[in-house]
Amino acid sequence: MKYLDEIQLQKRMSSRIIKNNILKQLFLAATLFGLIVLAILFIRIFTEGAAWINWDFLTGRLSTAPERAGIMGAILGTSWLMLIVIPVTLIVGVGTAIYLELYAKKGRFQSFIATNISNLAGVPSIVYGLLGLTIFVRAMSLGNVVLAGGLTLSLLVLPIVIVSAQEAIRAVPQHLSEASYGMGATKWQTVKNIILPASLPGILTGSILALSRAIGETAPLTVLGIPALLIPFPEGLFDTFTALPMQIYYWTLDSSLVEEYAYLAAATIIVLLVLLFLLNSIAIYIRNKYQQRY
């Protein structure tokens, strides 16, 4: 007696295996699609912009004549923004994370704040721009200065810093703080001397990533009315400024009028990407070097 028709089985099985193999290649192709676009994007930008990068371009002042235009103003503006975003997000982000993880009673209020933070993370960046325009630029009448831009961007990336700091704090093992309490340390002493140092690498990694998100943001700055054609350099918190992404934005828009502006935009993009690359490398370095496993 024969229970199996071997030939029939072979036929069916092989067609299923072939289907599996074909779709596997399709899945691989889909995965590679993203990487190929990434490669095209990089090649395109570097071939267009690399030739325009030289010392005069990096240190020069802005000019409508493409061959004389420089982006020092935008570089300084972005640096000023970073100078505000780093301390503000670190203090507020880490403070909130410490409160949520170590002080708040587990309950309604805590989960309310946590829900609120995850909702804030999903608010489009342009809405933050309107918030900044209404509160910092108009209500506090700061104008479109460095401080207004920096605070707006800080609010925008705050949820990222809070969530990553929370994760870093949660990753500190219980027995470390228990040992500290056992030695007679108070809660704040434990937080300050044990938990924060142990979670610092994670906190720094998260805030550097948030920082790189902040300096690439354009939409909130456009809403704040940050100009692109600005000759003087910003010298303080209350000076008007322009930033690298704004420069890219205007040069891209005007590239239909003056062809060379597209190359200038590409060159500025390279500068921005190099900056982001450096920041991310620092973050990865910190993560690998100081991250301890308990």
């Binding site: 995965t31 489009p124 960046s125 342009i126 809405v127 918030l131 009315g225 891209t252 828009l253």
Partner: protein, 318 residues
């Protein structure tokens, strides 16, 4: 005797001082202990204040707008002419632009993102996954302005080469590029969901003679469906809120149309155009900024809540 009582006296004084010193220190640290939670609450409330600030500014200014333009007219109007002599404010052209660009983005990002997730989670070896994932994360970390530049100076010219009827600014090209931007997000969230499916289930299916493909589609994807769908919804939310790509590559035409070869404005691009155009505070066009932003905010909020609801409610626990 005299010497020892002297010593005792000295000791007694020392101990007393020590106690006083200790008390002072404890008092100080008691004060810090009590102050710290209060300070932390104030800091933590900044995130609450941000939410309140966003909702308050959007609502307050939008109400001012609805006093001038009836809310019904705003949401059903198909004509948007904010700058003309008798301005009309209908949001539908902007909603059409937003929906169409998001649909195009999801047509690109949905299938490709999901297929990447399947490959990375089910087919790829550990080594391949560890190389490809960081590369995809680079794609996610590129500023949107760079994608805008790419759409405008590279993708649009290519599309126009193939279909000459397409305009210099059109909704198709930013839609596609937005899709590319969202691929890593969907791929990584869906992969997380599929990774959370226990291996014993895969092994069970494979032991019954299923191929990897059948295992993926009949076992892994149904089990991870809540996570996959919520990643799609988050992708849509991201597309709705995306600003720079559409602002640069889709122009500012406010026609109510469904023709993807033509320029269309999204809600986000309208906000950039009006805010950048120095709308005088107090004018109707200035308030329209907030009414549009409120609509955008509600759209994305609903999407985000929906994503969280789906992933919580329909999660399969193993």
């Amino acid at each position: 005797m005299a010497a020892s009582s002297d010593l005792n006296k000295k000791n007694a004084v020392n101990v007393r001082e020590m106690i006083a010193d200790k008390k002072r220190k404890r008092n100080f640290s008691n004060i810090t202990e009590k102050m710290i939670p209060a300070i932390l609450i104030i800091i933590a409330s900044i995130s609450l204040l941000t939410t309140v600030g966003i909702i308050y500014t959007l609502l307050a200014e939008s109400i001012e707008f609805y006093k001038r333009v009836p809310i019904w007219e705003f949401f059903t109007g198909t004509v948007l002419r904010p700058l003309s002599q008798n301005p009309e404010f209908g949001i539908l052209p902007l909603v059409a632009g937003t929906v169409i660009s998001s649909v195009i983005a999801m047509i690109v990002a949905g299938p490709i993102g999901l297929m990447s997730a399947i490959y990375l989670s089910e087919y790829a070896s550990d080594k391949v996954r560890r190389t490809i994932k960081p590369l995809l994360e680079i794609l996610a970390g590129i500023p949107t302005i760079v994608y805008g530049f790419f759409a405008f100076t590279f993708v649009t010219p290519i599309i126009r080469e193939i279909f000459p009827a397409v305009g210099a600014t059109n909704i198709l090209s930013p839609g596609i590029v937005m899709g590319v931007m969202i691929i890593p997000m969907i791929a990584s969230l869906s992969e997380d969901a599929m990774n959370a499916v226990p291996n014993s289930m895969r092994e069970g299916a494979l032991a019954l003679g299923a191929t990897k493909l059948e295992t993926t589609f009949r076992v892994v994807i149904p089990a991870a469906l809540s996570g996959i769908i919520s990643s799609f919804v988050l992708g849509i939310s991201r597309a709705i809120g995306e600003t720079m790509i559409v602002t640069i590559a889709s122009g500012s035409s406010k026609n109510f149309t469904f023709d993807i070869t033509q320029s269309m404005q999204t809600m986000t691009a309208y906000i950039v155009e009006v805010a950048g155009g120095d709308a005088p505070a107090g004018s109707t066009i200035y308030y329209s900024l907030y009414a549009v932003a409120l609509t955008l905010f509600v759209f994305t909020l609903i999407m985000n809540l929906l994503a969280r609801y789906i992933s919580r409610k329909f999660r399969e626990e193993y």
